[in-house]
């Protein structure tokens, strides 16, 4: 191959590489320009009413920093800008689109500049998406930290309240009933002597009064003890729920271990029990004992079930009425376990179903928590599949989650 032919070959390779290259003289007049540079820059030249012969004229509009850097550069050759990002706007079809470019600028010699452009619009979009996801995760993490702190404080307060109740219970035992009993006994024993002093009928009445006071005091004490015991039971229930919640907030709990779906569903229900009772929802569970555990992230699966139960409650609220049912069922099949959550809430139609798994989709006035999209991604990391079904609006909904069982070899 002749030198000329080799040059032509190299030029045609440079012409085609997917990076914009422009060589200019010291005044910015374009000497050489490859295809990609024209593809990137022509729309900008035209938009600014420029013929495309001088690159500096364009950069003054779209990236003045490059001109400043170039004018301030004193060496006769070297790198002036290294992969500097800038954004241009493409105006076409009545709308404006952002295009993100990076520019590397080199002085090749006193009379020669080389501009290297690349389009990073797609990359920037992906970065932005990633950033959004990270931000959401940080917010979630922050929420967790706050909740964890609040739970800890409530836990301490509840423990304090519990020991206070115990103290009150003990105090009620040291009451006046014993003293009144002793007084009644004293009057009884000395009834005659007292009768002589104040008359027998009065002495008899005094004995009755003392005994009546004692009995009343004993009744009150018994009543108070019962109330305190009831309160202590409530406190202990609160402690149990707090313990369940805390267990799921442990930072190191995102590890895979063998978990019981039955346990997770029961825990999730326990956390929502007050809400369900308040709404008079009839809860039916078919959670057979002895199902094989599945390998998974306890905390995340708990979040999924809590979220699904909450969704059901909210959809029942939307539906209205006060005769609602929530049915939770676990069923073992040959190589999987299927969990179903069925509610008598508002349900959905086909159009809504298509949108439901999109990130950020909500029919609620205030979006809460994980969302179906989040649930699905957690489940997909467990190789589980989630599906939603509803006979239509106003007819309730069923969520089905299918977990594969670990295969035994």
């Amino acid at each position: 191959m002749s030198l000329e032919a080799q040059n032509q070959k190299m030029l045609s390779i440079i012409y085609q590489i997917p990076v914009g290259l422009v060589e200019t003289d010291p005044e910015g007049n374009v000497q050489e320009m490859n295809a990609m540079a024209i593809q990137f820059l022509m729309p900008q030249f035209i938009d600014k009413g420029l013929a495309g012969e001088n690159l500096f004229d364009l950069l003054k509009h779209i990236f003045p920093k490059a001109i400043a850097a170039l004018e301030g550069y004193e060496r006769s050759s070297g790198n002036i800008l290294d992969k500097n990002r800038f954004t241009v706007y493409l105006n076409h079809n009545d709308h404006s689109e952002e295009q993100h470019l990076i520019l590397t600028l080199n002085r090749l010699s006193a009379g020669q500049y080389l501009f290297i452009f690349d389009d990073i619009t797609e990359l920037q979009k992906k970065e932005q998406e990633l950033f959004e996801i990270q931000r959401e995760q940080a917010v979630e993490r922050g929420k967790f930290d706050v909740i964890s702190g609040v739970l800890h404080d409530i836990g301490n307060a509840v423990v304090g309240f519990g020991s206070y109740l115990t103290k009150v219970k003990q105090l009620t035992r040291n009451n006046d009933a014993t003293m009144l009993g002793k007084l009644a006994q004293f009057i009884k024993t000395n009834k005659e002597a007292i009768g002589e002093a104040i008359g027998a009928p009065k002495a008899g009445a005094l004995v009755q009064l003392a005994e009546g006071l004692k009995a009343k005091q004993e009744d009150q004490t018994a009543e108070m003890e019962k109330t305190i015991t009831d309160q202590m039971n409530i406190v202990s229930h609160v402690k149990d729920i707090l313990n369940i919640q805390r267990q799921y907030l442990k930072p190191d709990s995102s590890e895979r271990s063998l978990v019981s779906l039955r346990g997770i569903i029961n825990d999730a229900l326990a956390m929502q029990l007050a809400t369900l009772e308040k709404r008079n929802v009839e809860v039916r569970t078919y959670l057979p004992d002895g199902l094989s555990p599945i390998k998974g992230d306890h905390t995340k699966l708990m979040q999924v079930f809590l979220n699904l139960i909450k969704n059901s409650i909210e959809s029942m609220d939307q539906q209205g009425g006060d005769r609602h049912q929530l049915t939770l069922q676990l069923k073992k099949e040959e190589s999987s376990i299927t969990a179903t959550i069925q509610d008598t809430g508002i349900g959905f139609d086909k159009d809504q179903k298509q949108k439901m798994f999109k990130r950020g989709f909500t029919t609620k006035a205030r979006g809460s928590g994980l969302g179906l999209n989040g649930s699905r991604s957690i489940l997909s990391t467990h190789d589980a599949v989630i599906d939603l079904d509803s006979p239509g609006i106003g007819k309730g909904a069923t969520v089905t989650i299918k977990y594969p069982l670990p295969t035994h070899t």
Binding site: I14, Y15, A35, I38, P43, F45, I46
Partner: protein, 118 residues
């Protein structure tokens, strides 16, 4: 006489043979609706340095004139009917050359990029 500005240039170009296209004083790239080149006339070849035999059968926007593969040129031909004039710059390999392009597309199976040097 037909020239670059004629209103019914598309119909007229459809009626020309490849050798008749070679006689024209402006560049003509004839392609199908996907952008695969069917004819690349002599004038166009002198503008770009690409020999017609190296261009025919290739895809204009991704193989021959990569510099036109944006919304200003290639993007316009996504529309079902096109007759627009675009001021643009071509590079003969690396030398920038200002040109005026007329893009033609209709229900005819051929579409055209007509090129006049400014």
């Amino acid at each position: 006489m037909h020239n670059y500005e004629s209103p019914n240039l598309h119909q007229w170009l459809d009626a020309q043979s490849d050798s008749e296209l070679d006689q024209l004083p402006y560049g003509v790239v004839k392609m199908d609706h996907q952008g695969f080149i069917q004819a690349y006339n002599d004038k166009e070849s002198t503008y770009t340095g690409v020999a017609p035999e190296n261009a025919v059968g290739k895809h204009l926007f991704t193989e021959i004139a990569l510099c036109t593969n944006n919304f200003m040129v290639a993007g316009k031909l996504d529309q079902p009917e096109v007759d627009v004039v675009v001021d643009y710059i071509f590079t003969y390999v690396m030398k920038p050359t200002p040109v005026r392009l007329r893009l033609l597309k209709s229900d005819s199976p051929n579409m055209y990029m007509v090129v006049a040097k400014k």
